[in-house]
């Protein structure tokens, strides 16, 4: 576990990059809610990178195929779903195999298998607060 592996080290002011790996998750430059729904391979967390530890170009290059990158504010992510009783958080989650530094995970995202309606709702909220990252 890295020195960044706790939520206290990630300030609410920080910005995250989230790579959008599928073309169909971007329509006319706008990310779709589908990009924020957990899949089994996600192991319960959404993968992101911290903008202050990596670059947009590096984030794009880290993936074999990357349709685009969107940004999220950590503070907004943490506030997502509070009305629904959720407590989303962002934690440092860098692994030895990560090709670029600054990997962070959004945790406490509803699992669509357990609570599908809430999972879709949170996906909508994350989509609405995300912005397309430009060079």
């Amino acid at each position: 576990m890295s020195e960044f592996a706790d939520s206290a080290t990630i300030q609410c002011e920080e910005v995250l990059f989230r790579a959008v790996l599928k073309k169909r998750h971007l329509t006319d430059g706008q990310v779709q809610a589908d990009a924020f729904v957990l899949r089994q391979v996600d192991e319960g967390k959404l993968s992101t990178y911290r903008k202050n530890l990596t670059t947009l170009a590096a984030c794009r290059a880290a993936f074999k195929k990357c349709a685009g990158v969107v940004t999220l504010h950590v503070g907004h992510v943490r506030a997502t779903g509070i009305d629904e009783g959720l407590s989303l958080d962002v934690i440092g989650d860098e692994l030895a195999s990560d090709p670029i530094p600054g990997h962070a995970s959004i945790i406490n995202v509803p699992d669509p298998i357990v609570n599908r309606v809430l999972a879709e709702r949170v996906a909508s909220l994350l989509r609405d607060q995300s912005r397309t990252a430009n060079d």
């Binding site: 599928k22 169909r24 329509t27 779709q32 729904v37 899949r39 879709e120 709702r121």
Partner: protein, 168 residues
């Protein structure tokens, strides 16, 4: 429209070309198209295919769905999921007619399909996983949202109709 010699082949011929690479059950549903564009099997043509030939908007949706089988970054849906989605969208298209807006189609990477409609602050998502018993509709109107489990074609039609009504 494909042209062979002086004969203008019917749209079925074009559709057969779209089916390249699609799963066997879909191929079987489509039946073998002979060189004159006629159907060589005696099985009944699925409703969605009849609609495909007659309706450009629906054809665009079907083409979009089948292109999932060819896109490198997509996981093709299971045959039975594609069959179910095609079969259950016909009623909505027929009843909504020109008010039908084709959904955005994506795979869920686990053999299922996700269809999404959006109009203003209203959204409808038909989530059809590989386990069809887990299918559901997710709807959203501004800050209100909810889900409808185990939906069928009639519920899909009603939900789309309601979404269109409120937007108009």
């Amino acid at each position: 429209m494909a042209v062979a010699g002086i004969l203008e082949l019917p749209s079925q011929y074009e559709y057969a070309s779209n089916l390249v690479g699609t799963p066997p059950t879909i191929q079987e549903a489509a039946g073998q198209i002979n060189c004159t564009g006629g159907r060589s099997t005696e099985s009944e043509c699925p409703e969605w295919m009849t609609l495909y030939y007659r309706d450009k908007a629906y054809a665009a949706f079907v083409d979009d769905l089948f292109s999932l089988y060819r896109e490198e970054d997509e996981t093709p849906p299971c045959d039975h999921v594609a069959d179910w989605v095609l079969g259950s969208t016909v009623l909505a298209k027929r009843l909504l007619a020109q008010n039908w807006g084709g959904p955005r189609v994506a795979s869920d990477d686990e053999g299922g399909l996700r269809l999404s409609w959006r109009a203003g602050d209203r959204e409808l998502r038909a989530i059809v996983p590989a386990d069809l018993s887990q299918r559901y509709l997710y709807w959203q109107r501004g800050t209100e949202y909810g889900g409808i489990p185990n939906f069928g074609s009639a519920t899909l039609y009603l939900s789309l109709s309601e979404m269109n009504e409120r937007v108009r």
